[in-house]
């Protein structure tokens, strides 16, 4: 397609013969036959779907032992491929190993459900999740290269922790109402944040810095999400509604995260590392303090503003452009919500509606101005 264009330009006298030849050579080398790829893709998808539906239609006619055997053999084959051919595959494309490892881990997780189906076993979800994490985390940590495997590790840890905590507090009632037990549950929910330490420590030392960077980022994101959640719960007066949403667990959770943040200062020197440590520490303090602001509109909002203003300041310092803009946007959004919390009757009159509309526009305008005026230049290292 572009070859004809280039010939046209040459005929029109825009480019000379040498330029034309160079352009053609470049286009040849960088050709991306999308249509061909699409046809291949559709064909492969059709075969794959057909295979899946043939297996699914005859599922119960396949003896359980055969099904489980094929499932385990598939996992073994993929693990073997990763183990023996990793270097060669990485030379071709690092993403191929990433995809292989991710698919292996996903197949491993489905094996638990498959076992339950064949042997009629059932157990609370956190148990198979925890076993899966114990069995597959070493593989993921030793061969992961980018965010999908990092997400599998951090996401798996977060999922396990929450399943465990909610299974132990079925219907909001803890199995054991002791203070120590509640503190343990809070700490368990906070544990995935400690993966940030591993990420921060390894990213300067590993041959796969991108993977460890993603681990650190995801764990930090989880800490900030937990802190924001704690502020939202406090704003809605939710502390005390269930045993997990109470003073002791949230205090324990906050303390563990804050300690992880303090340790992070030592683990990763440099501006970026120090700022990440500051954010994690701040998130921990916010969670620990959230119960203090329970059911009080202004303190809960203030806590949230302090958290995100701190994130914005850290982003400014470490030159994280996107994070800074996100923080400004989040603060603006919370301001709008706060105005409605404080003056809910604004929405009941026409004048109030106009006023609140103007205020939203004003907040948005200021947020955009701040974001443009003060946002740091992006640095590759986030």
């Amino acid at each position: 397609m572009s070859a004809r264009r280039i010939a046209h330009w040459h005929e029109a006298g825009i480019i000379d013969a040498a330029t034309r030849d160079r352009l053609l050579a470049y286009e040849d080398a960088h050709a991306r036959p999308l249509l061909l790829w699409a046809v291949w893709g559709i064909g492969a998808l059709a075969i794959g779907l057909g295979f899946v539906s043939v297996v699914a239609a005859n599922w119960e006619n396949i003896p359980g032992l055969v099904r489980l055997g094929v499932h385990l053999a598939l996992i073994a084959g993929l693990v073997g491929l990763v183990f023996f051919r990793e270097d060669r595959l990485v030379e071709g494309s690092p993403w191929s190993v990433e995809a292989l490892v991710f698919v292996t881990a996903a197949l491993g997780l489905t094996f638990f459900g498959h076992l339950g189906q064949v042997y009629q076993t059932s157990s609370p979800l956190w148990q198979p999740l925890a076993v899966w994490l114990a069995l597959f985390a070493p593989l993921l940590l030793l061969t992961g290269r980018s965010w999908p495997t990092a997400l599998a590790v951090v996401g798996g840890a977060v999922w396990t922790a929450w399943e465990y905590a909610s299974a132990m507090t079925g219907n909001g009632v803890p199995r054991n109402p002791g203070t120590f037990w509640l503190a343990w549950l809070g700490a368990a929910v906070a544990l995935p944040v400690t993966l940030a330490l591993a990420g921060g420590w390894m990213r300067a030392r590993s041959l796969r810095p991108d993977f460890w960077r993603r681990i650190e980022q995801l764990a930090l994101t989880y800490a900030v999400a937990l802190a924001s959640l704690a502020c939202a719960v406090a704003s809605g007066g939710g502390f005390g509604d269930s045993s997990l949403l109470a003073g002791t667990p949230s205090l324990a959770c906050g303390v563990v995260i804050a300690l992880a943040g303090i340790a992070h200062f030592a683990v990763r020197p440099g501006v970026s590392g120090q700022m990440a440590a500051a954010i994690i520490t701040e998130a921990g303090i916010t969670i620990a303090a959230a119960e203090w602001a329970n059911d009080r509109i202004v303190p809960a909002a203030l806590l949230f503003f302090v958290l995100w203003a701190g994130i914005a300041a850290a982003a400014l310092r470490a030159h994280w452009r996107g994070v800074f803009q996100l923080a400004v946007g989040v603060i603006a959004f919370r301001l709008v919500i706060l105005s409605f919390e404080l003056a809910a009757d604004l929405l009941t009159s026409g004048f109030g509606l106009i006023l609140s509309g103007l205020m939203i526009l004003g907040v948005a305008w200021v947020a955009v101005r701040v974001s443009k005026r003060f946002a740091p230049d992006a640095e590759p290292d986030t």
Binding site: L68, I75, F83, G113, Y119
Partner: protein, 186 residues
């Protein structure tokens, strides 16, 4: 060293899954088979596969609001003559117990589930709707009180059961009687 760690990381998931498989297989095939009548079926279709959810109808268990978490099966396997709530370990030969770690938690003696294939689930659905049949679940009960449902079958209701089922409808309602709720509380 890194070579050893990589080998361990590759072997660990395979060995772990294989060990789990072996353990599940051994547990599934051990134990005594008992037949338990069931009621209240609910075919489910979740990601985990098709399964049918049911309530156990233990023979001889007095109706009560308090759910015992352990029962003692009496009779010659697979027929349960009756169950008692005295399931203390030394005296009871065939205990069944609900465990907090089961999917239904301490409700495990009252609700259960059985995984089925899609075709079987569809065939079962029509049988489940037939009021003249009684569902029977076979469980494998082990000495430690754990048990696993392994199959489900149906038998026609006996004449006595049919009479019992149809009985309340024959009683005419009198406006002067106390409401049915109070009746049952007396």
């Amino acid at each position: 060293m890194i070579r050893a760690a990589r080998l361990l990381a590759a072997v660990l998931p395979l060995a772990g899954l294989a060990a789990l498989w072996a353990q599940s297989d051994r547990t599934y095939h051990s134990g005594t088979e008992w037949e338990v009548p069931i009621m209240g079926y609910d075919p489910r279709d979740y990601l985990r596969g098709h399964y049918v959810e049911f309530s156990y109808d233990w023979p001889g268990l007095p109706g009560s609001d308090i759910l015992p978490s352990a029962l003692c099966l009496e009779g010659a396997a697979p027929v349960i003559d009756r169950v008692t709530t005295h399931a203390a370990f030394p005296s009871c030969a065939h205990p069944v117990m609900a465990r907090a770690s089961d999917i239904y938690g301490l409700d495990g003696l009252f609700r259960g589930r059985l995984y089925l294939g899609q075709n079987r689930a569809e065939a079962l659905q029509s049988e489940l709707q037939d009021r003249d049949q009684r569902g029977i679940v076979t469980i494998r009960q082990r000495e430690d009180g754990s048990f696993t449902p392994i199959s489900i079958r149906f038998r026609p209701l006996t004449a006595a059961e049919k009479a019992e089922r149809d009985a309340p409808q024959d009683v005419p309602l009198s406006p002067f009687d106390p409401p049915a709720v109070m009746e049952s509380m007396r």
